[in-house]
Amino acid sequence: MTVIGTASEQHSAPDIKNRDPMVPYAAVVEKIIHEIADTATYTVVFKDAVVQEQYQFLPGQFNMLYLPGIGEAAISISSDPADPGTLHHTIREAGNVTGALARHRVGDTIGIRGPYGSAWPVEAAVDMDLIIVSGGIGLAPLRPVVYHVIGHRSDYGKVTVLCGARSPADILYPDEFDSWRDHDIEVIVTVDRADKNWSGHVGVVPMMFYRLRPDHTRTIVFTCGPEIMMRFVVYEALARRIDKGRIYLSLERNMKCAVGFCGHCQYGPAFLCRDGPVLSFEQIEPFFGVEEF
C-alpha cells in the first residue's frame, strides 16, 4: 500500500560494510557557540585524520553523539555539506545526554557515529521554487539546505525561508539571515509571542504562507519543527495546490541504534533512522493523521 523507499547508499559513513555499526569514532569538541537559551552549536573534529577526511554528509542527516557512561543522542548536522571538515551540531538541552553535553567544554572528547538518515531532496528541487519552513530548533537540520542553495544559487528559482519561533529570544541563527538575503533568499521571521521590542511578524509560522503566492506547478516545501506545526504547514501547502509528493517533512522519534535494528524509531513501515527522518507527505499520509500512531 505505502511505498516507503528503502535507504540507498546515501550514507557516507566511512567503511560502512566492515565496521561494527554501533561503535563510535572518537571526536574532539573544537568550538561551542551559544545560540539561544539551552541551545548551543558544537563543532567537532574526528581524532582519526583518515575518518575526518573521508567523512561526508547530506543535508538533513544526523549523527549519534555518544557520551561514555551516559548514552547517545541523535543530533542533526547543521553545517554546510560542501564543507564536511567543519561539523556543526546544534543541540538543545532536552534530556540526560544533551544535558550532560551542555556541561562539556572545548577540548573534551566524545564519540560520534554517522551520518544516518534520508536527506532533503535538494536534487529534486533543482529548477524549482523552494519554500523552507522551520519551527524553533527545526531550523538546525534545514540550515544545510540553505547553505547548499547558496552554494548553487542558480540551480534554484525563488527560495523562501519561513522561520517561526516561540518568541524573539527563541529565534535560531538570527545573525545569518541578512547574509542569506544577500543571496536572494527571502527570509520571513515570525514569532508566536512578541516581546516589548519586537517589530516583526507575530503569528504562527504556517500563517506566513499568506505572505506568499507560490506557483504550485513548481514549488517544493521542506519543513521541520514541532509535529503539529508541520501538520499545519502541510495543510497550507496543500491548500495552495502544492503536490503532496513535493512536501517534505523531517520527523522525530525515539532512536537508540540509528541503523534500523532497535525498532524504536518506526513510523508505520518507515524506520526514521533509515527511510527517514526526511519523508514526503505522500509517503506518510496514511499515518499522519492517525492518533497515537
Binding site: P68, G260, C262, H264, E292, F293
Partner: protein
C-alpha cells in the same frame, strides 16, 4: 568405522540412539549443543550433551494462556512443539556487550570482543527456521549488518526437526513456514516410530553423521515420513488468513477492535519475549566508579513497554491500545513493507504465553469482520 559421506540432498536413516553419535561429533568439532530439555515444568532450550537430556517421552498441552507438559506413553524424542524459549537466546542474546570504552588522557578507546561460541541448535522447527531466516533478513541483508549476529549465525549448526504433532496454538501452514523444513539446515530430522529419518542439508551435516551408523533411507521410510507430515499439515491447531495482509491492518488503524483487545492486554511484554522474530532492543550504558571505563550493552526491549516511544516532551504511544496496535500492525503489516515478508511464522507462542490468552489469529479475524465483537 569409516563410511563414505552421505550426499547433500539425500535422506538417511539412523537408529534413535545413533543421535548420540551426532552429538559427539558436534562436540568434538567444538560445538556447544543447545536443545530442548525439561526444566521447571516446561520444555526449554539449554545446553545439553546427551540425548537422554532431551524431553524423551514428554509432550505439551498448549492453549491461549495455557501451557502444561506431561508424560507420554511412548518414548518419542520430539513429541512436543515449541516452548517459551527461542533460538534468539543464542543468536540474538537478551544481553550483549557492544563495546567497552576507556578514557585515557582525553582519548577514547573503544574495544569490542567477539566471544567465539559455536552453537549447534538441535530441534529447530519449521516455524523457527523461518523465523531465523526472517532475522537474517533484518540483521544481515539491510544497509547495515549486525556483526554479533553474523558471527553467531555463520557458525551455527542447525539440526532441524519436522513436526509430526502440531500443537493447539500452531498455525505454521497458514504462514507457509512448516511443518516441513525445506532448506536452511544442516540436518533435518523426522521422527519415525523406530528410527530417525535425516535429510542431509549440507556437507557439514553429512560430516556429523559419519559415526552414527547411518544408511540410506528407503522408499518405505520416505513414505512414512511424508504421511506423517501430510497429517501434521492437516491438524494445525489454528489458522490465519493472510491474503489480505498488510492492507487489512493499514485500512483498520481506527478499528474498534483495538479498544476491545486493549481492555485485556496487560502490556506485560511476554509475547515479544517469546516471539522468535521480535528484534527490538535498547541500549544500557554503565560506568565504573571513576567514569574512566564504561560499557555499552544491548538488551532486548519491547514495543509494549511504556517508555518505548518516549520523545522529549512526551510519549507518542501513551496507552496500551496504541502499543498493541503497533505490535500487531508491525508484525503483520509494516513488516512486509520493510522486509518483503510477514513477521509471523505461526509458532503460536504469543497465544500460549499471553497471561490473558490473547490470540492474534482471533484478533485478525475480528478486525476483518469489522472489529465490533
Amino acid at each position: 568405522m569409516t563410511e563414505s559421506t552421505p550426499t547433500v540432498g539425500r535422506h538417511v536413516i539412523i537408529p534413535k540412539d545413533g543421535l548420540q553419535a551426532v552429538f559427539d561429533s558436534l562436540m568434538s568439532a567444538g560445538y556447544v549443543i543447545v536443545g530442548p530439555t525439561v526444566d521447571q515444568e516446561a520444555i526449554v532450550y539449554e545446553t545439553i550433551e546427551n540425548i537422554a537430556e532431551l524431553p524423551v517421552g514428554w509432550t505439551d498441552d498448549q492453549g491461549p494462556g495455557q501451557y502444561r507438559i506431561r508424560q507420554r506413553d511412548d518414548g518419542k524424542f520430539f513429541g512436543y512443539v515449541v516452548g517459551p524459549s527461542t533460538w534468539k537466546k543464542y543468536l540474538y542474546p537478551p544481553e550483549l556487550t557492544l563495546f567497552t570504552c576507556r578514557q585515557l588522557d582525553g582519548e577514547l578507546q573503544f574495544e569490542t570482543r567477539q566471544e567465539v561460541s559455536k552453537f549447534a541448535l538441535v530441534g529447530v522447527r519449521g516455524c523457527e527456521l523461518a523465523a531465523i531466516g526472517i532475522q537474517d533478513r533484518i540483521l544481515l541483508e539491510g544497509l547495515y549488518q549486525d556483526p554479533h549476529y553474523r558471527n553467531r549465525r555463520e557458525q551455527a549448526f542447525i539440526l532441524a526437526v519436522n513436526c509430526t504433532e502440531p500443537g493447539e496454538t500452531c498455525f505454521c501452514t497458514s504462514m507457509k513456514s512448516g511443518p516441513r523444513c525445506d532448506s536452511g539446515f544442516d540436518l533435518a530430522l523426522t521422527e519415525l516410530p523406530d528410527s530417525f529419518l535425516l535429510e542431509v542439508g549440507s556437507e557439514l551435516g553429512a560430516e556429523m553423521l559419519l559415526k552414527s551408523s547411518w544408511k540410506h533411507a528407503g522408499a518405505f521410510d520416505l513414505n512414512q515420513a511424508t504421511k506423517l507430515l501430510d497429517q501434521a499439515e492437516n491438524h494445525m491447531g489454528r489458522s490465519m488468513e493472510t491474503s489480505d495482509l498488510p492492507e487489512l491492518l493499514y485500512t483498520n488503524l481506527d478499528s474498534k477492535r483495538w479498544d476491545i483487545v486493549s481492555q485485556r492486554c496487560l502490556s506485560c511484554t511476554n509475547c515479544t519475549i517469546v516471539c522468535p522474530t521480535c528484534f527490538c532492543t535498547d541500549v544500557l550504558d554503565t560506568s565504573d566508579l571513576t567514569g574512566q571505563q564504561t560499557e555499552r550493552k544491548r538488551v532486548w526491549d519491547s514495543c509494549f513497554s511504556s517508555d518505548f516511544s518516549y520523545v522529549h516532551g512526551g510519549n507518542t504511544r501513551p496507552n496500551i491500545r496504541s502499543r498493541y496496535r503497533q505490535w500487531l500492525t508491525h508484525k503483520l503489516a509494516s513488516w512486509s513493507d520493510q522486509f518483503g515478508e510477514l513477521g509471523c511464522t505461526g509458532c503460536g507462542r504469543c497465544i500460549t504465553w499471553c497471561p490473558v490468552g490473547i490470540d492474534l489469529t482471533e484478533e485478525i479475524s475480528a478486525i476483518r469482520e469489522g472489529g465490533l465483537v
